[in-house]
């Protein structure tokens, strides 16, 4: 039972703190910092389902987030849907799209799949940049009256913040749930040896397509919420390749394959990134530092921070999954 696992309760406490702190003293700056951390955690934990659990590198994970943002924004502003319905619909549509696509490209093994995911990103970006209803390369803006159903802009920003914290908690719980399920064991088997897994009765193509689709759902919902909050979207910010790549750095830094590791890596890296981007002397160099960090982690500590902690305190494995 998931209720008996300490990490489950830790996740709820964490989400509670995230929700309570900025609202408690109406600290908008803190809220804006935490929202970026929450989005980083959402993206990284879902990426972990592919890389950490299944052993398939997805270089284009951001495509789910961007596409979710586009669909959500389109439904919420052009069609006038309620934000929550729009975000959920975006999640479902992007998941279905991922399922269809996954059944095609997941026939490709290992490195070929990784290359195909770069292609998915480029292709979707090319499509969206040419798609007339979504404003082509200029993108879309949130119409001001779209905030009305949520009680005006100020209130709407807080609502989207709480929703994003909710999505963050769901992402972590989803990862935790999959990890101990039979489905999760099948994914680990694929990661360790795909041929052996197939021989033992794991339907690898279907498993991979399902996890690819599952890993798309919450990032798409988060994208819809986040771009609604930001008030605008365009192809270059929705499908920012670098953000997709930084997700991999976050995951490796924290510890791929673990729930706590992906969240920890995301939070630490996101804070580091914000620091570097705002520091006048280092602002141009955040990619250099990210790259060097990634190189060091895979060379010296392939298990990331959590892997290092496991070696230090072996019994911690049972609590910090």
């Amino acid at each position: 039972m998931i209720l008996r696992r300490p990490l489950f309760w830790l996740i709820l406490v964490l989400a509670g703190l995230f929700a309570w702190f900025p609202q408690h003293n109406n600290n908008v700056a803190l809220r804006e910092d935490l929202i970026l951390v929450a989005v980083a955690i959402i993206l990284t934990t879902n990426l972990n389902l592919m890389i950490g659990y299944t052993g398939y590198v997805n270089f284009g994970h951001i495509v789910f987030y961007g596409l979710g943002g586009y669909i959500g924004l389109y439904l919420a502003t052009v069609r006038g849907w309620h934000l929550i319905t729009a975000a959920l619909t975006a999640g479902v549509v992007v998941s279905l799209f991922a399922l269809l696509f996954g059944l095609g490209i997941l026939r490709l093994r290992g490195a070929y799949f990784a290359l195909a995911t770069i292609g998915v990103l480029v292709a979707v970006q090319a499509f969206v940049s040419n798609f007339e209803p979504w404003g082509r390369s200029t993108g879309m803006y949130v119409a001001f009256d779209s905030y009305a159903p949520l009680g005006g802009p100020k209130h709407a920003l807080w609502t989207t913040y709480f929703l994003i914290i909710g999505v963050m908690a769901l992402s972590l719980i989803l990862s935790l749930g999959i990890k101990s399920s039979k489905f999760g064991l099948g994914l680990f088997a694929i990661r360790e040896d795909e041929d052996a897994a197939i021989v033992l009765g794991v339907n690898a193509t279907v498993f991979k397509a399902i996890i690819y689709s599952v890993s798309a759902f919450l990032p798409a919902v988060a994208g819809a919420l986040m771009f609604f909050k930001n008030g605008m979207i365009d192809p270059s910010i929705a499908f920012e390749y670098m953000l997709s790549l930084e997700g991999i750095v976050m995951l490796m830094l924290g510890g791929q394959g673990t729930v706590a590791g992906s969240a920890l890596g995301a939070a630490l890296y996101e804070r580091l990134r914000s620091y570097l981007l705002t520091s006048p002397r280092l602002s141009g160099f955040h990619l250099v530092i990210a790259g060097a960090l990634l190189l060091l982690v895979i060379r010296l500590a392939p298990g990331g921070l959590i892997g290092w902690f496991y070696r230090l305190v072996p019994r911690s494995r049972e609590v910090i999954e």
């Binding site: 590198v57 770069i118 040419n130």
Partner: protein, 286 residues
Amino acid sequence: MSGILASMIDGLLIGSVYGLAAMGLSLIWGVMDVINLTHGSMIALGMFGMYLLFGAIAGNPYVLLLPVLAAGLVLGIMVYWLSVSWVIDRPILMSLLSTFAVNMMVIGIGTAIWSTSPYNVNFSLPGLTVGDYTFTGNHMAAALSALVISGLLELFLYHTRAGKAIRAVSDNRDASELMGISSTRVLMIAFAIGIALAAAAGALVSTLFPFTILSGAGYQLKSFVVTVLAGLGKPLGALAAGVLLGLLEGIVSPFIAVSWIPLIEFGLFVVVLILFPRGIFGRATA
């Protein structure tokens, strides 16, 4: 009708540069089973290498290709020791991530130096005018240079001792070590040549189009498409597939907006991988 013909010829010319870029990727992939994700940034460095050299010397860019190639070899050896030597024979995830980390560092440094605004190499050869259409001299010279470099690579791989050693290691590393070939050194040389080819391709592209530090990524994607079209470890196959891709772009470009081309290329990539997992022009070395 003649417009399409002109566009096709132009596509053929540019396609040979794509082929040159892809040969670098294909050589590394085939010999050491490492997918070199620094490829795009090395192409970009080739562009800026040419830009700097041309700015400093203002010589003939096709002569300046030689120092770019030489610098590419040195850079290749550095990248090899930094990110590749210790991931060979480890899970593919490791080599993907380690080369990718170097890619991020190069792009980061490049962005800090040159920002992401476009640059160009201001050089043009007289073109050839046929009827209403002019084929620019730069395109023809770039294609010719790509062909010459490809020919030299082919001669090197099939007619020199070092080249034969590279092919031997590519076929069977254990057996070639038993024959007294130092595979570490061979892998390093192959990697350096792969990077030099990428840099040369970038240098040629810089004489054709404006470029930014991020431009390499598009050519990296094209190189992947070309490599899977050609199958691994066949340099001339990669050249042929590159020309084919250029031709395809030439055929479709009069009809659709340029921004659709990545979508078509990617579609091609997936279809080819699924239908011809061993490439169209040859069998991959398993």
